[in-house]
């Protein structure tokens, strides 16, 4: 054993420098625990990170930070996080969304961070459902979704008790599934409540400089507190003795010990590190859902092309199929995001336009492709997703000549040509990219279908936080890290 940390002892080791791991580590460092964060990747952020390519910085993961809470709001998750991590609102530089939509053929529901907008849209499009919808919202508001001991219920079943029109049920499921469901075609009702509140009752916001602002705020806070971290170094193995994590072997060979270990890398991923577990441990609880995302850099602001939505959740029919596709990608449904379309303060605009399109994908299918097949599949699906997105966006406005006004509205057939002409750069990530950079098995962004709300594992000093503990989204991830650190390390009796 030759690693540089060999023989070191910590109060707690946190595995993974994503949002949840960093939040847990900050809490522990705040109260003078000796903490080590280990991260295999060279950048922090986990599933919500960023990268540079051809001189541009791209976000991955973050379309929007959900759970927006205006200054002075009471008791909301965002306020809790700021308090618990002693961050100020200014650290996050959040700007609210312009407005988003759920779109299927024949129906469109707009929503903003003002919940009354969605309510009036439902009243307009589904007049017979509005009373049921209002009762559903009352039920959601009164529901304690963070209790660690609630009985599981099917979200679709609960929604169907309140809403008799399956089209509306499906429309509400599209954003909720896409922004956090680890289960096919349904999710646990408590998870639905977390997401519904995060998306609709609270809302979307984004820092002007994207997800790196949030990561930077967390890293700075942890550094100020004197927390130790080791990047480009994951955990190779957790040596167990009688149901206890006794030693942790890092990738560089260092053997370190800790009173407690908090892992943010996922349920099955964590079990498989443990010396008392088989190599396929947790195989009955690994996620099947993964995604592709295309990123298009536009030469103009999207709003100048007539695209004013912040996010569009689309589906090409009245039924919604949220499951692992048989094909490489399922382009029948997805999410379109324009990161430009937030109300950035002081009239700031992003320097370039961005269009991002997310859709369901099959990890195993991508994994079997040879290199050249992989590249051509990427190009093929990039183009198919662009076409699909155009079906759900207004035709782009184009200027015929420099001085002619007003701009002409392109025909549908011209729209593709306009988009190609407006494209300055493109990139795409696949399920393999997700696994490569996050270590999540099967590219499963939302992790295991069955969450471990208590955060407990088969070892008495190993705990989970993050996606597989069950709080969702960036805000949820941070809240998960905070809660698990409070409960299992800082709380009385710990």
């Amino acid at each position: 054993m030759t690693g540089e940390l060999n023989g070191a002892h910590y109060d707690c080791i946190v595995i993974g420098a994503g949002m949840s791991g960093m939040a847990a580590a900050i809490r522990l460092a705040m109260f003078e625990r000796r903490v080590l964060v280990v991260e295999r990747h060279n950048a922090a952020g986990g599933l919500n990170s960023f990268y540079s390519f051809d001189g541009r910085k791209y976000d991955v993961g973050l379309h929007a930070m959900t759970n927006y809470a205006p200054p002075g709001a009471k008791g909301l998750p965002l306020i809790k996080i700021l308090r618990q991590l002693r961050l100020s609102r200014d650290d996050l530089d959040l700007a609210e969304q312009m407005g988003s939509r759920i779109a299927i053929p024949g129906y469109s529901l707009s929503f903003t961070n003002d919940f009354a907008v969605l309510e009036s849209e439902i009243e307009r499009a589904f007049p017979s459902q509005i009373d049921g919808f209002r009762r559903l919202v009352e039920h959601l508001k009164a529901f304690n979704e963070t209790a660690l001991d609630i009985q599981e219920q099917s979200a679709v079943a609960v929604l169907s008790e309140y809403l008799s029109d399956p089209i509306l049920v499906n429309m509400l499921m599209i954003p909720v599934c896409y922004y956090g469901s680890a289960r096919e075609n349904d999710l646990d009702f408590s998870q639905f409540v977390i997401l519904f509140k995060a998306l609709f009752l609270e809302g979307f916001a984004r820092p002007y400089e994207g997800v790196r602002v949030i990561i930077r705020a967390l890293m700075n806070r942890y550094r100020e507190l004197g927390g130790e971290r080791k990047m480009k170094c994951g955990v190779r193995e957790i040596i167990t003795e009688n149901g206890h994590a006794s030693r942790v072997i890092l990738d560089d060979g260092s053997e370190v010990t800790a009173d407690k270990v908090i892992s943010s890398i996922g349920y099955a991923e964590t079990l498989r590190l443990c010396s008392d577990q088989p190599g396929d441990a947790g195989r009955d609880n690994t996620g099947a859902l993964s995604f592709v995302e295309t990123i298009t850099v536009l030469k103009q602001q999207p709003s100048d092309l007539g695209w004013k939505d912040t996010i569009v959740f689309f589906n090409d029919s009245e039924t919604f199929d949220y499951r692992r596709p048989k094909n490489l990608v399922d382009d029948r449904s997805g999410v379109i995001c324009f990161p430009n379309n937030y109300r950035y303060s002081d009239g700031r605009r992003l320097e370039e336009g961005f269009l991002r399109i997310t859709a369901l994908a099959n990890y195993d299918r991508w994994a079997t492709l040879e290199d050249t097949e992989y590249q051509s599949a990427k190009q093929e699906w990039y183009e198919r997703l662009q076409r699909r997105a155009l079906d759900f966006l207004p035709p782009p406005r184009v200027r015929q000549k420099e001085h002619t006004t007003p701009p002409m509205v392109a025909h549908k057939a011209q729209a593709r040509f306009v988009l190609t002409e407006q494209t300055a750069a493109q990139d795409m990530f696949t399920p393999l990219t997700i696994t490569k950079f996050t270590g999540h098995l099967g590219g499963a962004v939302y992790g295991a279908p069955n969450k471990v709300k208590s955060g407990r594992t088969h070892l008495d000093n190993l705990y989970l936080c993050g996606t597989d503990q069950g709080f969702l989204g960036i805000t949820g991830a941070m809240l998960s890290g905070i809660s698990m650190a409070n409960l299992h390390v800082l709380g009385a009796g710990s």
Binding site: F31, K80, R83, Q84, R86
Partner: protein, 86 residues
Amino acid sequence: MTKDDVKQIVLDIIAEIAPDEDLSDVKPEVRLRDQLDLDSMDFLDIVMELRKQHGIEVPEDDYPQLASLDSCGEYLLPKFEAKASA
């Protein structure tokens, strides 16, 4: 040290953990939860800060003793005094 000193210490801690709360008119006899937006996470932080900043231990069974500023003064003063004379 007086009960008022102890109350001020608790108020200073609350100001640190909940800078978004208006603390200009906190009534000492009224439960903190009833006049401020504080949840169990915030109370855990009050306990943690008492330990970190002043070396005062509050066992979990005694958390209800921190309900109001008055009860904080009552409960914590002997602990601060014991600490000072130690």
